[in-house]
């Protein structure tokens, strides 16, 4: 009886996982360009978001006075904090003519974003912290935690990927 229960339990588990499991033999094939998601070379969609002090910021507005813009999507977690510290120490200092915009897509309101930024110690940082109140920008860019986007003055996306290292980001910034 118990062996039947065990078999059924395992079968259910496997069945439930079917189609949801990771690729057990991962591929290194270069499939860029084979999906509809935003990619390097695409035009960056325009957006307008308030910062944590209530001031609106648009992509074209930021680029009017800057060489480029970096978007970093954050949800106030340890990985985000680690990435943001890494950006603060390197790329942000080395590229003063680029705006570094942190997109808070989980706080929901300007006040919530302000509280999150203050408790995380970023409210007075050189980052411009924007609040994506309805996650519209998150969805438009197909972003998630750690997604880093580099946009040139010509609105062309130069990088869109998970944050890897300051060197990788600076490599993209150097091409602006």
């Amino acid at each position: 009886m118990f062996s039947k229960i065990a078999a059924a339990m395992m079968a259910l588990t496997l069945l439930a996982g079917c189609g949801m499991t990771d690729d057990l033999a991962p591929s290194g094939a270069d499939n860029r360009g084979s999906s509809a998601a935003l990619a390097v070379g695409d035009m960056a969609p325009e957006f307008t978001m308030p910062d944590i002090w209530g001031q609106p910021h648009s992509l074209t507005g930021q680029l009017a006075a800057r060489r480029g813009v970096v978007l970093y999507f954050a949800m106030w977690c340890p990985i985000c904090d680690s990435h943001m510290q890494s950006i603060l120490r390197g790329p942000l200092k080395n590229y003063p003519d680029v705006d570094f915009l942190i997109v808070d897509y989980v706080s929901g309101t300007v006040e919530g974003g302000k509280r999150a930024a203050m408790s995380g110690g970023y409210a007075q940082s050189p980052f411009i912290i924007l609040v994506d109140e309805r996650q519209k920008v998150l969805n438009t860019y197909g972003a998630t935690m750690g997604t880093t986007v580099v946009i040139g003055k010509d609105l062309v996306i130069r990088m869109i990927e998970d944050y890897k290292s300051p060197a990788r980001l600076e490599e993209a910034l150097a091409g602006l």
Partner: protein
């Protein structure tokens, strides 16, 4: 002999020798605790949901184990070890159902498998997401260095001090949904996406009613190619997570009831490290972690049916510098085990 009377006999005088299942089961309860790895990297931001290794009692031929974990998030340690809160208004939880099976394949050898099912609940001010998927699977091979259980009622010779030791290998298989597979949001992640091979050594000694156990494990993640991140195809590169070490010290007390059932309370301290990952051969300074936690587990064993139920609580120690780059979580675990 009434085990509850407190009149413990030495080995071979009728106490332990006629109750190998009892000793084996208590040892297994302890071993379950010290062999259980700390959560891989659980949570909405990090994925995770790896299973724990199972330990079959010496007298058992095979075993079924089902446990249920509820992990609640309460802030995190940043890289400097400072504790920071989660986003205001957030409510983050991960639930794991861990069905497992262990089988003895030789006198001193056993194998086991645990395939967790994971549900993520990530509630923020402006979004509520839930995900249900398989977690990462763990397959283990365990070698016992002893032929008979080493628990004693009193120490009368040096031989009575010989501990039980287990040497193990565990393979984590990335059956969970990782950032490098189909997941398009970090909220959907239930696995890390990497194979990992762990070698472990555990030593434990029971002098009734007390038990002391020590465990150490070292794991190596296998490098893999990556060509997709959260649904975005990217320029292919190779990635490898850092090596993982963990250490656990556990102490237990077993109370024997009139019915020969018993209850074991175990308190343990665990320390988990993971080194920095490499991306394209370069170290990623934003990775690496540390987590120190304390746990308590209450296990009830019914001797006749080789049946055990357990209830546990594990808490990341909420002290500055007691962790790095890792969520602070509390984990409640309930489970049942049946040995054949």
């Amino acid at each position: 002999m009434n085990l509850a009377s407190g009149k413990f006999s030495s080995r071979g005088e009728g106490g332990l020798s006629v109750r190998p299942a009892l000793a084996g089961f208590v040892m297994a309860a302890l071993a379950l605790i010290i062999s259980a790895p700390a959560p891989a990297l659980a949570g909405s931001c990090c994925g995770g949901g790896g299973g724990a290794a199972l330990v079959l009692p010496k007298s058992g031929e095979w075993m079924l184990d089902v446990s249920f974990d509820m992990e609640v998030y309460d802030g995190y340690w940043n890289r400097e070890g400072k504790i920071l809160p989660d986003a205001p208004g957030s409510d983050l939880k991960q639930f794991r159902l861990n069905p497992g099976y262990a089988k003895r394949i030789a006198d001193r050898w056993q194998v086991s498998a645990v395939i967790p099912m994971v549900r993520n609940e990530n509630f923020y001010e402006n979004s509520r997401t839930t995900t249900f998927a398989a977690g990462d699977t763990t397959i283990s091979l365990l070698y016992e260095t002893f032929d008979v259980v080493t628990c004693v009622w009193s120490v009368e010779s040096l031989e009575d001090l010989v501990p039980a030791a287990y040497l193990g290998l565990a393979l984590t298989i990335p059956t969970g949904v990782s950032p490098f597979d189909g997941a398009e949001r970090s909220f959907d992640v239930t696995g890390r996406g990497f194979y990992r091979l762990d070698a472990s050594a555990s030593v434990e000694k029971t002098i009734w009613p007390w038990t002391l156990a020590l465990s150490y494990s070292y794991g190596i993640h296998i490098e893999r190619p990556v060509n997709r991140e959260y649904g975005h195809w990217v320029e292919p590169y190779n990635k490898r997570l850092g090596d993982r070490r963990s250490f656990t010290l556990a102490g237990g007390y077993t109370y024997f009831m009139e019915t020969d059932d018993n209850i074991t309370l175990t308190i343990s301290y665990s320390d988990l490290w993971e080194g920095t990952a490499t991306t394209g051969g370069e170290a990623d300074p934003a990775t690496g972690l540390r987590r120190r936690s304390v746990s308590g587990v209450l296990a009830f064993s019914n001797m006749d049916k080789s049946f055990m139920t357990k209830l546990g609580y594990s808490q990341a120690v909420k002290q500055e510098d007691w962790g790095e780059n890792f969520p602070l979580t509390d984990i409640v675990t309930a489970g049942v085990t049946y040995v054949f």
